[in-house]
């Protein structure tokens, strides 16, 4: 697991004198503990969308035959999964409740929407998003917690 970079220096130091073609996204989020008798680990996906195009970033799912539940990540399935576009993204097994930090590179896009989707067997479904603009001065974004995904903090490093 990656250690989140200390953000203060990054936020203050960087000006936008030149447009870089790549940005780093540090996404920190929680998988919440849900108090039910049977608590399956959720499927989680992270991706970016811009004008109808999608960039797959991450998907955590059960492997082999149990990936039949991938289409329960409804939007992710429609934009990425059913086209097998996620083979170039980070994939991994499902994870239990806890805090996670993931780092992604976004190339070429200056403005996009970052999506996080989580679906749990016999449980709920969450789809959250935030618009990110690399051209403005905001370098930190926050998405409030939903039922199946906790608070999300996104730090953008050009």
């Amino acid at each position: 697991m990656r250690v989140l970079l200390s953000s203060c220096a990054l936020v203050t130091a960087l000006g936008w004198s030149a447009l870089s073609s790549a940005a780093t996204l540090d996404v920190a989020f929680d998988i919440p503990q849900v108090n039910t008798g049977k608590n399956a680990r959720p499927y989680v996906a992270i991706w970016a969308e811009n004008q109808g195009e999608s960039k797959p970033l991450l998907v955590w799912h059960l492997q082999d035959k149990q990936d039949e539940w991938l289409s329960d990540l409804r939007r992710w399935w429609r934009k990425i999964g059913r086209y097998d576009s996620h083979i170039d993204s980070m994939t991994g097994a499902t994870k239990g409740p806890g805090h996670y930090n993931e780092r992604f590179e976004i190339n070429d896009w200056e403005k996009f929407t970052l999506y996080v989707e989580a679906a749990r067997e016999n449980g709920g479904h969450s789809l959250v998003k935030t618009k990110i603009n690399l051209l403005d001065d905001t370098h930190q974004y926050h998405i409030p917690a939903d039922t199946e995904i906790g608070n999300i903090t996104i730090k953008v490093t050009p």
């Binding site: 039949e68 409804r74 429609r78 059913r82």
Partner: protein, 269 residues
């Protein structure tokens, strides 16, 4: 395919298509990956996603993602309330299931007596003489053509099954059925013999309406380009009916009535 040998059942199926809604109900319309087997029921019904009467097994046709008719769909069971089979989804892509009665039907309506009692008879114009009273008034014969359709998509959506045949009355999904999302626009196109059909009346009923007390259909009409769009706020299963009436080109009828029953799922996002 288990073929029905009882001609009475065929007549039942034909009669069903006049008074009932025709529904093709797959257990699931979006599948992550083939191979998978999907239960499919076809019924002529008064309700939404309810079973009332079976249809003739001979009228069921399945088209694979390559657009070709799949001849062997295994055993088809015709029970008291529905006609059922298990569809083997063997390749990824979009399948189409179609039901059409083997023959189009004529229906003549008329009124009789001092009170103008309404009557109907399953007769074409040349069959009227001697079969309805000479005193019948307001006699009008309508030729009906009805079919039902639904789509199933395994993994990646394809469009070969949606290519118009340019024969008869057709409803073409402009928005792909695997992309019906709550709160997003869904567009249909109506064609008659390959030409755009304006003024087609559409009534959409939701299964949820059975439970939430609102069974009022959503109604819309195709525009001059034969197009109509609707945004459905709630995910769930829906049954839609597209109807189009015109003067008959067939001398055996006065009016020609076309109808397509289209069942589909809207998924949440």
């Amino acid at each position: 395919m288990l073929k029905t040998t009882l001609c009475t059942l065929g007549i039942l199926a034909a009669s069903s298509s006049f008074a009932h809604d025709l529904m093709i109900l797959p257990a699931k319309s979006i599948i992550t990956q083939s191979p998978e087997t999907i239960a499919v029921d076809v019924t002529a019904t008064h309700g939404v996603y309810r079973y009332d009467k079976p249809v003739s097994a001979d009228g069921i046709r399945v088209f694979g993602p390559d657009g070709k008719n799949i001849r062997d769909i295994g055993t088809v069971v015709q029970s008291a309330t529905r006609t059922s089979f298990d569809l083997d989804v063997e390749t990824n892509g979009t399948y189409k299931i179609l039901y059409s009665s083997s023959r189009s039907g004529y229906m003549t309506s008329y009124t009789i007596g001092a009170r103008d009692t309404k009557k109907r008879a399953r007769l074409s114009k040349s069959e009227l003489k001697g079969n309805i009273p000479d005193t019948a008034k307001n006699v009008q014969t309508t030729k009906y053509e009805r079919h039902g359709m639904t789509f199933i998509t395994a993994k990646m959506p394809t469009t070969d099954v949606m290519k118009p045949t340019n024969k008869g009355f057709e409803i073409i999904p402009v928005t792909h059925p695997a992309d019906y999302i709550n709160g997003e626009e869904i567009t249909f196109k109506a064609l008659l013999d390959g030409s755009v059909a304006p003024g087609v009346e559409i009534a959409i009923k939701s299964e949820a309406g059975i439970y939430n007390g609102n069974q009022q259909p959503i109604t819309l009409t195709t525009d001059k380009d034969g197009m109509a769009s609707v945004t459905l706020d709630d995910a769930g299963r829906y049954s839609s009916f597209f109807s189009y009436e015109m003067d008959s080109k067939d001398p055996e009828a006065d009016k020609q009535s076309y109808g397509v029953f289209y069942t589909f799922e809207v998924v949440y996002e």
